[in-house]
């Protein structure tokens, strides 16, 4: 769609009256077009005001505790960074700041250093006698391993080869306790380098790890599709 065609659809987009494909097309355009992004924000403000048009109903009293418990549950499984890609980027930023060379370091070098920091963490973990490593297998081809140390409760997903999940999608890692999958973060594979995704958890509670394809950017509270890769712990 051209800029003009997308402009025509922005009102429908702000009202959630477009299908998934059109939605993705608009969102890709918004990344690049600040004019349309500003217009969408204004239209969304108007759409959000329409929420006041429904009768006010108090939520069930138990819901608050349920939501807070769900959030706390996520906290214990994914205690350190919640958005892993952002976490890696932040690590890169920190290294730049520490080096005091924020202007002269190229972006590539920063990425390499972030990678190195995560690799060092991985090497330190693998060095512990209690650490274990498993390979995830399933319906997509790739090289995905999960290294974890039940004693220190540290783990890391190591993705060295995995196809792109597709536009608007991410891979989501799950730790499975009994029949209940708990989110351990989302990631996108990188074509030219391994992606490392740290996980802090009490691994004794979980019987398996699994990866499913979910909607970007935040994934889903529960898997919405069958896992593409999994392994027992």
């Amino acid at each position: 769609m051209t800029h003009e065609e997308i402009r025509e659809s922005l009102a429908a987009y702000a009202l959630d009256a477009v299908d998934e494909d059109a939605r993705r097309t608009v969102e890709t355009h918004l990344q690049a077009c600040s004019e349309c992004a500003a217009e969408v924000e204004a239209l969304r403000g108007a759409a959000a005001a329409l929420a006041a048009g429904v009768p006010v109903v108090a939520p069930p009293p138990g819901l608050r505790a349920q939501v807070l418990a769900a959030v706390r549950g996520e906290r214990t499984t994914t205690r350190v960074p919640r958005i892993w890609i952002a976490g890696l980027a932040a690590a890169a930023g920190l290294i730049i700041a520490l080096a005091g060379l924020s202007f002269s370091l190229s972006r590539e070098l920063a990425a390499q250093r972030a990678q190195l920091a995560a690799q060092e963490q991985l090497v330190a973990m693998v060095g512990r006698p209690s650490a274990r490593a498993i390979t995830l297998q399933g319906t997509v081809e790739g090289n995905v391993r999960f290294v974890y140390d039940p004693q220190s409760r540290q783990g890391m997903l190591v993705v060295t080869r995995l196809r792109d999940p597709g536009r608007g999608l991410v891979y989501q890692l799950w730790l499975v306790a009994g029949q209940t999958p708990e989110s351990a973060g989302v990631f996108r594979p990188a074509p030219d380098r391994p992606v490392l995704l740290p996980v802090t958890a009490d691994f004794g509670r979980y019987g398996a790890v699994a990866i499913s394809v979910e909607r970007a950017p935040v994934g889903a509270p529960r898997p919405t599709s069958a896992p593409v890769l999994s392994s027992s712990l």
């Binding site: 659809s9 009256a17 108007a46 109903v57 108090a58 959030v71």
Partner: protein, 191 residues
């Protein structure tokens, strides 16, 4: 509404930033401020308390996980949260419709037509006044989209008009609403 340190007052954007850093207290405050709006929207559109509860939980988990994606330079926290709530609610409506295979034939009345009813029963005085200033066809297109969860294609089929006409009605109506509603805070918050 009352404002103290644990309650979200004027700067909801700062609260979302704290949520992005994993601050549970800030998250609780956001929940307390928005649970009623989010749940009311979900139950009003879905007409199913059980599903509305699930959607509400999904929305707040998405806020917890995705707060880092909120960009205060681009918009307000309120807009971000209510847009997220509407999007998830509409997703649930569409899943519901796939299951129920609800007829879209305009000759067949839809079983529970939340849209028209919502338009008739609009509570917020400011929203009602703003909607009243749209043309009837603009009001109808926007109401079917926002309160009914229909796509623009479904609305075109339902009304028996070309898609381009629906787009124009939505666009003109939303521009008008933006001018009437876009910049003021909603007064309908009840705490």
């Amino acid at each position: 509404m009352s404002v103290d340190n644990d309650r979200v007052g004027g700067d909801e954007e700062a609260f979302l930033r704290r949520v992005a850093h994993g601050d549970e207290r800030a998250f609780r405050a956001i929940y307390d401020r928005y649970a009623r709006s989010v749940y009311s929207l979900a139950v009003g559109l879905l007409r199913d308390p059980q599903q509305a509860e699930e959607v509400t939980q999904e929305v707040f988990l998405a806020i917890w996980r995705g707060a880092a994606q909120f960009d205060a330079d681009r918009g307000r926290a309120r807009t971000w949260i209510l847009s997220l709530a509407h999007h998830r609610t509409v997703d649930a409506i569409r899943r519901q419709r796939v299951r129920a295979a609800e007829p879209l034939d305009p000759a067949v009345p839809a079983p529970s037509d939340a849209a028209e009813e919502a338009i008739r029963g609009v509570e917020g005085a400011r929203v009602r006044d703003a909607l009243a200033r749209l043309s009837p066809v603009q009001r109808e297109a926007i109401g079917l989209a926002y309160y009914g969860g229909y796509t623009q294609e479904e609305i075109a089929r339902r009304l028996g008009v070309p898609l381009g006409t629906v787009k124009t009605r939505m666009r003109d109506g939303m521009m008008r609403l933006r001018d009437l509603l876009g910049n003021a805070r909603s007064e309908v918050e009840t705490t």
